[in-house]
Symmetry: C2
Subunit: 467 residues, 2 copies
């Protein structure tokens, strides 16, 4: 089958007008077309321009999502799934207009199977809501991308975050999902068994497909036991390279670290100022260990010895809840601490991921590039996976500033790709990284496009993303 | 796009004759057409009839695989990838003839990256070869399906085995792969970063696709550190249900058990006789713990307490290498022990997987069915995942025996599916389970077929499998 140009996204005014009428009639107050609501459902979190949909529907069931998709399909009008709007690469923009499907009313927890360590939920449930609901069961959902994202959105973008090094990413933690496909049919990709060899892995095909293949309407997720003991701490290092070498040794030694986060010197400086931390202004690793009391003490002890080998330390760690909470609050507030470095500026958050053996080199080259380009851009990283973020501070009203930031991001992506890495470890392609996908994966992108075309021949599912 | 009938597999005599001539010319001695070689490259491990290919090619590089596939594509002749021939559901049969691509000469280990805990290999490398090669590095490849399968075959069938409960399946342990697609192009599905959100997960789409989408020509695999200490043991239980409840509690408690294998009463009887074990003839769990000295002792102690709660015990465990080796040798010889229950009979090995909360019920119902049908069919299970195997002993020359076995397998599959499980946890669909895929996944199968049709419009890649 010949490949169509999936980048062409042209407004279908006639179809849109028809769909607006039908959905207003059908959903009443649960279908909104006001400018404020529409803009709020397009890309809002960075400088990528806001491209609002023509209407926002608030369905309450898979059946209602099917109705919306069938209506849009009949008129060849785009459908853009919307979770909590926390994505960073323009995933919820509507470059050719169309209908945003806001899943916030699909927020029921359908089942918690404590014996199987799994649950089935609707896509609008956020990870904080799920964990609050689970508290009494002794279980939790471990994936933590920072933002209180919706789980449907997290699945759609293959999100991960600080504890992926131990618990994996959304790829590893979705057992099954239901999705409404472009023809309006709802399919369920797997039953609830922990593993299966039954046919193609449609679960993993939908996870990370960014709404371009189907709209997720339910998810069955793996859960983990809340650890008996948690300890955490911070360890300064003379250089990023020493910190990275300590990370490599920690992973190689098989210490089942739950979080191991790098904060570079500039980011540390920002966090010390913002969160009133009492640490040296040098690159630091933030760590967390999960296990029994004996095991977390053993893990912390082993890590302390490794850190010392690479000139790091002192490694200060604690099992006291309040002290740990303060540390991780500071780590989670890294974004705000960074923004405070240049008041009035906006942060462009970008991410890449490389093999861990190349991490020190990649970060060092990136720091040098930041300096050479005169940018202010602190770095934090989920370094156990080789994944790091750069927050480029820029004046969004200064085209020169935006251009410099874009050039920096381009160089960063190509640098990561040249080191056998990826242009995105966890944010996804969206609109922001389309240019790098083929540089990374070559002809494999044609086979992605074949899937897209086979599932969605009229290109109505979140058009203009990924391809 | 309309769905073709992917089940239609008709011999293309003209095309086959042309391809035989071209490949003989091109590959000389590395292209064989003798009956013995051809039959050996078709299904050999159970009663499913042997359907030999017309020729067997022994390529030595991705480029040579591309040549073979392009030749076959030009003449619309089937291509069947062949690893070690250990699959159980007829995956390597050639129902419409065609060319078997034997990957045994593609057995180079291309790179071992100890810092990144990964390696890149050719598909003909077997797991034992890989682990022998890795020994000096302190790393190992953990997936162990029992047989010394090729890693290409293990990826193609999404294999797992005894320690999937801790280390995951092939789905979780393939970082990237290169595959030759039906149009002869070779694509690489990912770079070497640990995680990526860059586009559709083609890696997971190819893993488990059973050679129906492409021929895998290299794999980048995750490795694990060889544990500092390993302990193992056996624990008898009054009933399968008690054993299953102990498993559930063990998993819920978060004990990071490396293997937890159920052996039912009949299987235990067979193993005691075959391997001269000194255990009671009751359902047993075989366990293995990986970690530090302190951690494995702690894990064994915690498990012992749990077992006691469910009437199990005594739990005898050991860290002595020889004693552990004897135990696991007995477990791995379960197949031979079973066959010895009915000399001259053949074992049909089938597998299903259910949510662990349904496992006791599923096994009990299956044991009752075995008894009601008058079969001899011991059960072993990777019960940490809810996965179990039944070995049905049958006289392959007695059609009545085969019919009874098939009826039993059908009931077993539908029972697992009715309990929210899958008709195969790790063996794959092949030819043997085609009938159950739609019962399990409904319309989702149509979307699998759309992928197949988009990637392989002439249905030359391992036709007659999965669909």
């Amino acid at each position: 089958m010949a490949l169509k140009d999936l980048r062409s996204v042209v407004r279908n005014e006639v179809g849109i007008a028809a769909v607006l009428g039908i959905l207003k009639q059908r959903f009443g107050e649960r279908f909104q077309t006001g400018a404020a609501v529409r803009q709020q459902h397009a890309h809002t979190t960075t400088y990528i321009p806001n491209q609002a949909p023509d209407g926002v529907a608030f369905p309450e069931s898979t059946g209602e999502v099917q109705e919306i998709v069938k209506t849009c399909a009949a008129h060849k009008v785009p459908v853009i799934a919307f979770g909590a709007g926390t994505s960073l690469e323009g995933h919820v923009n509507a470059p050719a207009g169309g209908i945003s499907i806001d899943t916030s009313r699909m927020n029921r927890i359908l089942a918690v199977n404590t014996e199987d360590l799994d649950c089935t939920i609707e896509p609008g449930v956020t990870r904080e809501d799920l964990n609050a609901h689970l508290r009494a069961t002794g279980l939790f959902f471990p994936i933590d991308p920072g933002a209180n994202a919706s789980l449907g959105g997290m699945a759609a973008t293959r999100a991960s975050g600080t504890n992926a090094v131990r618990y994996g990413t959304m790829r590893d933690n979705v057992i099954a999902l239901t999705a409404v496909m472009a023809d309006g049919r709802a399919i369920t990709t797997a039953q609830r068994a922990r593993k299966s060899s039954a046919g193609y892995d449609l679960t993993r095909l939908l996870v990370g497909s960014e709404g371009t293949l189907g709209v997720i309407t339910s998810l069955t997720l793996k859960l983990a036991g809340i650890p008996q003991a948690i300890s955490g701490g911070v360890c300064p290092f003379p250089s990023v390279e020493d910190a990275c070498n300590a990370v490599i040794m920690t992973i190689q030694t098989g210490i089942p670290v739950a979080r191991i986060e790098l904060v570079n010197q500039l980011q540390m400086k920002a966090m010390i100022a913002y969160s009133k931390l009492n640490y040296p202004e040098s690159p630091c690793l933030f760590l967390e260990f999960h296990g029994s009391e004996a095991s977390v003490a053993e893990q912390a002890g082993m890590f302390g010895s490794i850190a010392e080998e690479f000139g790091g330390g002192p490694f200060q760690w604690t099992s006291v809840v309040e002290e740990r909470a303060k540390l991780w609050k500071a780590r989670h507030d890294a974004y705000w601490a960074s923004v405070a470095l240049k008041p009035g500026h906006k942060a462009l958050s970008t991410d890449v991921c490389v093999p861990i053996s190349r991490l020190a080199e990649c970060i060092a080259a990136t720091e040098a590039d930041i300096e050479a380009m005169g940018l202010v851009a602190p770095i934090v990283g989920h370094v156990g996976d080789g994944n790091f973020h750069v927050l480029v501070l820029m004046d969004e009203n200064d085209p020169g500033d935006i251009e410099r930031a874009e050039e920096f991001v381009s160089r960063l992506n190509l640098r990561a790709i040249s080191m056998d890495g990826t242009c995105t470890g966890e944010h996804g392609i969206g609109q922001g990284k389309v240019a790098y996908l083929r540089a990374e994966l070559g002809d494999a992108v044609d086979f992605m496009a074949l899937v897209k075309q086979a599932f969605d021949p009229d290109n109505i599912m979140n058009p203009g993303k990924i391809f």
